[in-house]
């Protein structure tokens, strides 16, 4: 399928700080694409550049295979960093301005207010809204043009648990209509729960990108012992082609396997060497430890 957004070698410098370093990612159509990284890793900078509010120091990007223009902007609904509205206007009046800027009819305003649960407060001034309501209004504004792509930067910021669950459901519902969603978040759990694809950023550098299932499923750990002395197990393990790392840890041998291999392959290989393993434990890495590992790689 065609790529909705293609980024090639994007860089951004703020004085001496390299906020973004040669970032290249592509967002497939229909995906929920998570941009994951700790605070200050360059997520908002990336989105700011592709949304035309920040000037890149280098690199290029295309939306729908075209350079950014007024017509491509109209196919994108975006919420960047904070909800940006006029505090002295009501929620509805603010959305009228958004609709005028996007050159779309006002008829969808009641519907989007209903979607985000603000219909009852549409006549209240924006400055009187709670943080969660402001965030909802920003999501409503992003939905206003019925865009093909939704760009959401930390959309659950400031929401209570119920609101977070609602927004996640909303994202899944919109995605079910065949739309593409780009979601920046520092919450691994959020990305894991809703995204189909992800890119992990750290200090402005791309660490890994691809379908969530393949990134999260790789590198299971296998612990073995028994059947032979530890040294022998270690020696054998190091000869196996599908083992990327083997080491002795707490009277056990810890193996890191290549993707798409599992515990039974280990068992079969040792048995072929005449060793019947006493114990074989496969441990899925916790999401947090995988995430920490990804962002800590090359950080020496």
């Amino acid at each position: 399928m065609a790529d909705i957004l293609n980024i090639q070698g994007l860089s951004k410098r703020y004085g001496s700080v390299q906020a973004l370093d040669q970032l290249s990612i592509s967002v497939p159509q229909g995906s929920i694409y998570g941009l994951l990284g700790p605070n200050g890793s360059g997520k908002t900078t990336t989105l700011g550049i592709v949304l035309d509010v920040l000037n890149a120091t280098g690199g290029s990007f295309q939306w729908f295979g075209q350079p950014l223009s007024k017509s491509t902007k109209r196919r994108i609904g975006a919420l960047l960093e904070t909800p940006n509205f006029y505090p002295y206007l009501t929620g509805e009046e603010n959305l009228r301005i958004t609709a005028d800027v996007k050159r779309i009819d006002h008829s969808r305003i009641p519907a989007v207010l209903e979607t985000v649960g603000l219909a009852g407060r549409k006549h209240s001034k924006f400055k009187g809204y709670s943080l969660g309501m402001k965030q909802r209004l920003a999501i409503a504004a992003a939905l206003l043009g019925d865009p093909e792509v939704l760009v959401l930067d930390e959309p659950t910021n400031g929401l209570d648990p119920e609101g977070i669950a609602e927004v996640r459901q909303l994202i899944l519902d919109i995605s079910a209509q065949g739309k593409t969603i780009i979601l920046a978040s520092h919450l691994l759990d959020e990305v894991e729960k809703v995204c189909t694809h992800m890119a992990v950023l750290r200090s402005g550098k791309l660490k890994v990108q691809g379908p969530v299932s393949s990134i999260m499923a790789t590198n299971d750990l296998v612990f073995i012992n028994g059947g032979a002395p530890l040294e022998q197990l270690l020696q054998v393990a190091r000869t196996l082609p599908f083992v990327s790392d083997a080491r002795a840890v707490h009277q056990q041998i810890q193996l890191t396997l290549h993707p798409n291999t599992d515990g039974s392959a280990v068992n079969r290989a040792f048995f072929a060497q005449g060793i019947a393993l006493g114990q074989l434990v496969v441990r899925k890495k916790s999401l947090e430890s995988q995430f920490m590992e990804i962002i800590k790689a090359d950080q020496v």
Binding site: D52, V53, Y86, V101
Partner: protein, 257 residues
Amino acid sequence: MTSLFRIELRKLLTYSTFWILLALQCSLLFIFFYARGHVQVNGQMAGATLYQFPKLWMHLTYVSSFLNLIPAILIIILVTDEYTFRTLRQQVIDGFSRANLVQGKYAVVLLVAVLLSLYLLLLGLGFGLYFSPSSGGGSMFTEAQSILYYLVQLVGYMSMAMLVAFLLRKTGLAILAFMAYSLIIERLIQWQMPDSIDKYFPMKAMGALVQNPHKELEQMVLGASDFLTPLQATVPVVLYVSLFCFLSYQILRMRDL
């Protein structure tokens, strides 16, 4: 342009700051012109001559031009607000170009200038008819073109205020910088320059659009000074306005929002 104007109106119509500053400006214009006519000169009210058509228009616009700081501050607030609320950023995300942002604010500049000029026209007619009802008809609108020059002057002042606001982004800082330049800095530079050059400076050229009714008296006391006539001053002022708009656009284009 009409859709940009409509968007700007949506922002202004319920904004109390806009109405308060506009009302303040209108009342001060009235008070200034009223007070000036009620000064006793040689036991006679100055208004007797001040409020006579057609001289009235020159006096009215001259007095009013001292109050141009308030509309300039209004424009600075409206522009820097957009930075504070981060709405410039959102409008660019939603589909505006950088040029649209400047065009929108320029539309507000024109709107305020037209509103104040119309108000001044009504004010002039009111004072003139009330204080010298006998003079009517023909002479009433002679020299009323002063109002047009006043309009150009307002557009010039406010365009400059817009540029300073886009440049500095902070309300207080922008107001201070605008006042410092318009009231002090340019005068210091003018002081070092021959009249033949400094008459083209922005503040002086804009000032020349509105004639000083006491010019002869002033020149007698301070010595002859080279001034542009209002018609001549229109050319540099229009050029300045274009320059201010262009620079505002360049600032937005080069900087991150």
